[in-house]
């Protein structure tokens, strides 16, 4: 019994790390810029496909996966820059509805581009040997790929928190949401902050995409399958609250992995229920601010 609980605890933590990696980018962009990017999940999916491409191109070399990891971050950052120049910087000042509609249209465009470039068959990334091992203690199994995802989540969480809370850039970014008019008056180039935040959010989505390649198959449905959970994580934690996202990712990941033990088909529904209840009691989420509701 104890072993079962520890195994589920571990898989729940890994799931939380994945939720956190995906949702933190969304939260960051919303918290600083005030734009909700519906196509964030498409970036996550594209990152997985790019990782697959590099891993396949370099498969005869040593450390091909790690090279693909670095290269996909590079490529995705450039891609994010291009998207920022073409689309995002034109919609920051627009109404909420228009922002959502444009990024929603982008979901369709990006998903179809993925289908054109990579086809619709599921692809498998060749994992390095170190990530296929399983550390076993009695009947407790800790797969190395899970530990990798967990480390990735913890690392990105801590570094983003450090960036936001302890550096000058972070303080400016946090001010950018509330004092949109004041920052330019102080001589701070607010559009460069927006640009940096968008690239950072895509960077976090890329980490999630790479993390997914060691957990499962790369395919067109991978973004959709995490959509409910990620949005629920975001809503439960409170929109724009970075710490809230971390806490609610933990809650959702753990409750998912324990719910799946008892009601296998209903685990996702359980998270939905959780979000529904929390929204009825605290519409602004666990750690969100009341004023940020609109």
């Amino acid at each position: 019994m104890m072993e079962l609980i520890i195994n589920q605890l571990f898989s729940g933590l890994v799931r939380s790390a994945l939720y956190f990696l995906i949702t933190s980018g969304l939260t960051l962009l919303f918290g600083v810029v005030g734009t909700l990017n519906m196509s964030h999940f498409s970036f996550y999916m594209i990152a997985s496909y790019v990782t697959w491409t590099f891993a396949t191109l370099l498969q005869n070399y040593q450390f091909s996966f790690w090279a693909a990891f670095v290269l996909s971050i590079l490529v995705m950052s450039i891609f994010a820059l291009i998207i920022e120049f073409i689309v995002m910087r034109r919609i920051y000042e627009r109404q909420l509805g228009e922002q959502l509609l444009i990024t929603f249209a982008m979901v369709f465009i990006l998903d179809d581009l993925v289908k054109i470039i990579w086809g619709s068959n599921p692809l498998l990334v060749k994992r390095p040997d170190i990530l296929t091992t399983i550390a076993s203690y009695g009947s407790i199994n800790l797969p190395a790929s899970g530990i990798f995802v967990l480390v990735l989540g913890l690392f990105s969480g801590f570094s983003t928190w450090f960036l936001l809370a302890r550096t000058r850039i972070g303080r400016i970014s946090r001010a950018a949401y509330s004092y949109k008019e004041l920052l330019p008056a102080l001589g701070i180039p607010i559009h460069q902050i927006y640009l940096a935040m968008f690239v950072l959010s895509v960077f976090l989505a890329t980490l999630a995409g790479v993390a997914w390649t060691v957990m499962g198959m790369v395919d067109l449905g991978q973004a959709q399958s995490l959509l409910i959970e990620s949005f629920c994580v975001m809503v439960i934690g409170g929109m724009g609250s970075f710490a809230g996202t971390a806490v609610s990712a933990l809650i959702c990941g753990l409750s998912y992995s324990f719910a799946i033990l008892f009601f296998p088909g209903l685990a996702t529904f359980f998270i939905f229920l959780l979000a529904g209840i929390i929204l009825l009691v605290r519409p602004w989420g666990l750690m969100g601010k009341v004023g940020r509701l609109h």
């Binding site: 519906m38 909420l96 509609l101 929204l279 009825l280 509701l293």
Partner: protein, 311 residues
């Protein structure tokens, strides 16, 4: 306005006689999709609630009909009523949570609702048939002919459109537009915002469910993909294309969308890419949609605001 309505009715009636089988199919689909677009437009164009979740009620309506037909063997008309009731009930339950939220929270929650509905239909294999969907949803023999089904659809859609017109010109519709323009002020006037929003949400669910019960016997096969957020995207795109706050918006949007779909699908399978780009263009350059464009061209006065007065 009444003249325009009569002309449109005549147009659709004559259309059913003159066109061939393929275009009759397209025209029927266009009529059904008008209802789907209407359900989005009522929420976004009138009430100001951006919903990405209309497919949930579309799917639940179709499944309510199909399940009572195939699993319980009920006759045709009770099946239609059960489908409609189930989508309205689902809209009531989910709407109860959703309308408490505003802005971005509402949009997110509707995405969650539609994906949730999709997963329930997808995973409940024993009851809904999961990924296989449900086949063999034949309409009764007197509607078996495509022409008969077209006119049956036309009657229902025309009455629904009349009801939509009545809703928009009623005090209730006016309150909805007031909520869209200024939510805080309308509350001071003494109008219960939450109840009006819930009413709009349920009505939108009703229209989407109506589209669902017309769609299922039309294609004779349904799949859970009807209820996911890509399917919701169709309602969103049709509404935006036509101009969500205009009375004629849904029909224009659905007409153009279905026609383009039938036309473009002959050349390429990458239809979402193209419709995505079109919507991109419309949101950036003509926020009133096609109807808005024509309307501003006809009135051609600069002092008239583009979005406010339509009905």
């Amino acid at each position: 306005m009444r003249l325009l309505g009569v002309i449109l009715c005549f147009f659709w009636i004559i259309l059913g006689v003159v066109v061939g089988d393929f275009w009759l199919h397209v025209a029927t689909k266009c009529l059904i999709m008008t209802l789907f677009a209407m359900s989005f437009s009522l929420l976004y164009g009138q009430t100001g609630l951006l919903s990405f979740g209309q497919a949930a009620f579309f799917g639940v309506g179709a499944y309510g009909f199909a399940l009572s037909l195939t699993r319980f063997g009920l006759p045709f008309v009770p099946c239609l009523i059960i489908g409609l009731i189930s989508s309205v009930l689902w809209a009531w339950i989910t709407g109860y949570i959703c309308v408490r939220l505003s802005g971005i929270y509402f949009a997110i929650m509707t995405v969650v609702v539609t994906q949730m509905t999709f997963y329930i239909l997808f995973q409940w294999y024993g009851f809904t048939g999961g990924d296989d969907g449900i086949q063999g949803l034949l309409p009764p023999s007197f509607l078996g002919d495509p022409h008969a089904y077209y006119y049956y659809t036309l009657i229902i859609v025309a009455s629904a459109y009349f009801a939509y017109h009545k809703i928009l010109s009623s005090p209730f519709g006016l309150s909805l537009r007031c909520i869209r323009e200024n939510m805080v002020r309308i509350e001071f006037v003494g109008i219960n915002v939450r109840r009006h929003r819930l009413g709009a949400f349920i009505l939108a669910g009703f229209f989407a469910g109506l589209a669902g019960i017309l769609y299922a016997p039309f294609t004779r096969t349904i799949a859970p993909q009807m209820a996911n957020w890509h399917s919701s995207g169709n309602a969103v795109f049709m509404g935006i294309l036509g101009g969500p706050s205009y009375l004629l918006g849904p029909s224009v949007g659905a007409g153009v969308w279905v026609f383009l779909d039938a036309f473009v699908s002959g050349y390429t399978v990458y239809w979402p890419l193209i419709i995505g780009m079109i919507v991109f263009f419309i949101v950036f350059f003509m926020p009133g949609g096609l109807t808005g464009l024509v309307s501003t061209y006809l009135t051609s006065s600069r002092e008239k605001p583009i979005i406010i007065r339509e009905v």
